[in-house]
Symmetry: C2
Subunit: 460 residues, 2 copies
């Protein structure tokens, strides 16, 4: 009976949204509750989504769609969230941290040395869906919208989510196949191409007209910002890392350097007229594990190392050598993982907030549903075409389906367009449905292909 | 020459605050720059402060004082920061994370089993300075202020910073002395007593009058909230941890559970009329390492463990046993450290913002300086008295000086009073100067005492 009472009390607290309304209206304190709910429910949804084979990001999006459409059921508790400036800033911080993480996980050398094959797949995989979206699917399926809206639709179709793509191959244990490497290389190129397209499209829309000179100027500005910040940054970061480590070798200084650089370049990118996330991605590319070697290794690594016999000792053997290897691996990975807690807190805010902007009532119109399905078909077709370019070298279907998931990148484009007032609520819903469907179809399709076909060529 | 040009370009970027003003005024994006500057300069100041023997928090405060008083030099770049609602929310998030961390680092059992000695030291160390501040130093040194302001002065004097106190003893390698344990126990008690005093004083001030019934009601409400959330929480947390770990054993779920609980109880505390930080501290007390054992051990621990011979093997020896011990220790500590990255980012925002609110021009009045010095003297005297209560058991001077630093707790009280409109700019400056001076004097005084006296009694 005692436990029953405890649970009743908890249920009363949890199920009384009325309590919140009774509070003396301090919006800032209300944000604490929203943040707690978003954080916790994103974490609860994620494993449920994963268990049925969806990527985590899909769980967060669907949660957002559910929360955002509660007013359809008469529940208006979350009405203020989507408009709250503090929550909006936290979401922006979330997507900046995410792009900084993606940058950190991308080796600049991999970007540069990536095979011609990946470049071709990447370029075809960007241009085909962009043209399909802007000049075919847009005018044909959504004829009422302006050219600018069709441009954003094309940009969203051009995106490839390197995170989701990589994850699907990793989950299937296929990360070391030739097809996977080509797709990953192409997805990285698409990330950069997509960011340039986003900048160009955003500026074209803001400038109000399309001129070749402007396109050239914008591409130049984007290139100068990206190349400039990367060249300057990579000249400075090894020095600044050494200087900062001389002040404080601890993890907090390393963390502060990376995050402050990300925030600073995000602000600088905005100042240069680009999207802040472009700056965050560039900032991530500046840091290579070797630049950070002046900083302290993690405490557990130092502790275990102090227990091991000296490197010169002849005692090294079956236990000591693999131990050392694990420690080196852990140290090298630490800088990729250092932003994770910030990410856990704020990245879901972005995706949940994005999902909340999907107006399900828009889908009550058969024409909108038809448009969403048509756009999704164009999105899949536009990426499957890339498979043709690898004919005879790798499995074209696997490469093509690997490029299909749009993930967070497509959503970032849709949000940017919405902020600029170009992407209407209907188009936004269409794009989000396309992102959800492509992200949802690709994993089972890949699983089917990889299990059915002969084992892929494995390299090194 | 090439490097010269690179540095000139960087200097141009860094030294042109004019650029910021030229941006198209998106306040949200400006916040990214402020956040980067606060984060980075707090990290740069901290090791410099530590090198001359100051605790980190002092570096952040002094940085804030410097930034906040730039207008005296005609530099108005940071004028908007102190009033920005987004930065204000991030600061609140910072202090909530800090109190959650302090709660996580405090074992509830230690709070309960702490000796009568610590209780006496704690109670004397709270009551004496509270009375001194409210009824002696306040009316005598700041006669122009209302009774409510004197109450807040007393509350700020009553505070003890368990973080700074513990850190001073640890830095001196004296954490396992009897004096250190008594002081740490008392500081923990003072933390709770201080939080109750803050709640009582805040409510008295808001209610506008002082009545014994109200004091009783408030104390009851504070006690019911604290005891209720702790009893209920500790009943639920072991179950919820098991349920959540069944969904996802990863670090992100553990992190989300702790942080969401902290945010939820902060909001609930506010709803109950208490300060949000009281909720955050209570949330921290709910989690004991053993409740979290259902969650996965860190990846490095699992990797190293997989390399070690099985527990039953006879091969265990000089290398394997200490390795296992290091792994167990690391796993146990992980939940105390999991919030650190969030803390690195947001805790400095609170202290820098607090420092920014110190108006140095107020110190141009000799009367204010005299009041600040007088209040500081009362603050030191009020805590040194506690040394008398341990006469014959431990070194009274060491215990007394160990209680002197007010640190972040005193500042939290001052901020709370300022938010309520009770603590004027002058009184706020006086309190911050007192906090800075007590935090600054104690470490050298303790160092002097501990190096001069005979070695302290050490316990196991």
């Amino acid at each position: 009976m005692r436990r029953g009472k405890v649970f009743a009390a908890v249920a009363l607290i949890l199920l009384s949204p009325g309590i919140a309304l009774a509070a003396d209206g301090a919006a800032a304190t209300q944000n604490l509750l929203w943040l707690a709910i978003i954080l916790m429910s994103a974490r609860l949804f994620a494993p449920l989504a994963e268990r049925i084979g969806f990527p985590t990001v899909l769980g967060e999006l669907l949660l957002g769609v559910a929360l955002g459409n509660l007013p359809l059921l008469g529940i208006r508790f979350f009405d203020g969230v989507a408009q709250d400036p503090v929550i909006g800033f936290l979401a922006e911080l979330g997507v900046i941290v995410l792009m900084l993480q993606i940058g950190l996980e991308t080796r600049l050398a991999d970007l540069l040395k990536v095979g011609g094959r990946s470049a071709i797949v990447g370029v075809v995989g960007v241009i085909t869906p962009f043209l399909l979206g802007t000049f075919v699917a847009g005018p044909w399926l959504l004829p009422g919208l302006a050219m600018n809206a069709h441009l954003f639709l094309g940009a969203a179709l051009a995106a490839t989510s390197v995170g989701i793509t990589g994850r699907v191959f990793r989950d299937l244990g296929q990360i070391d196949t030739l097809a996977a490497r080509i797709v990953l290389g192409a997805a990285v190129i698409d990330d950069v191409l997509g960011l340039v397209i986003l900048a160009v499209v955003s500026e074209l829309v803001q400038a109000g007209s399309v001129s070749l000179g402007e396109v050239g100027g914008l591409t130049l500005r984007a290139t100068v910002f990206l190349v400039g910040s990367i060249v300057l940054g990579r000249t400075l970061v090894p020095h600044s890392s050494r200087w900062l480590a001389r002040l404080d070798k601890g993890h907090s200084m390393l963390f502060a350097q990376v995050l402050a650089t990300g925030l600073f370049l995000s602000w600088l990118a905005h100042l240069a007229g680009l999207a802040p996330i472009i700056g965050a991605f560039a900032a991530g590319l500046l840091f290579e594990p070797m630049f950070l070697k002046s900083f302290e290794t993690p405490k557990i690594v130092r502790e275990v190392e102090s227990l091991l016999p000296p490197e010169t000792a002849e005692t090294a053997g079956s236990l000591v050598d693999p131990l050392r290897e694990a420690l080196v691996h852990h140290t090298r990975q630490q800088h990729e993982h250092m932003l994770e807690p910030i990410g856990y807190l704020f990245v879901p805010v972005f995706f949940v907030l994005t999902g909340m902007q999907v107006d399900l009532s828009a889908l009550s119109h058969p024409m909108v549903v038809a448009a969403a399905l048509g756009v999704t078909a164009a999105a899949v077709a536009g990426k499957l075409v890339t498979g043709v370019t690898v004919r005879g070298i790798a499995n074209g279907w696997v490469v093509g389906w690997g490029m299909v998931p749009r993930g967070e990148v497509g959503l970032i484009f849709a949000s940017a367009g919405k902020q600029l007032g170009v992407v209407s609520d209907t188009l936004f819903s269409v794009i989000v449905v396309m992102v959800i469907l492509t992200t949802l179809i690709a994993p089972p399709a890949l699983t089917f292909l990889l299990r059915r076909r002969a084992p892929q060529v494995r390299i090194g």
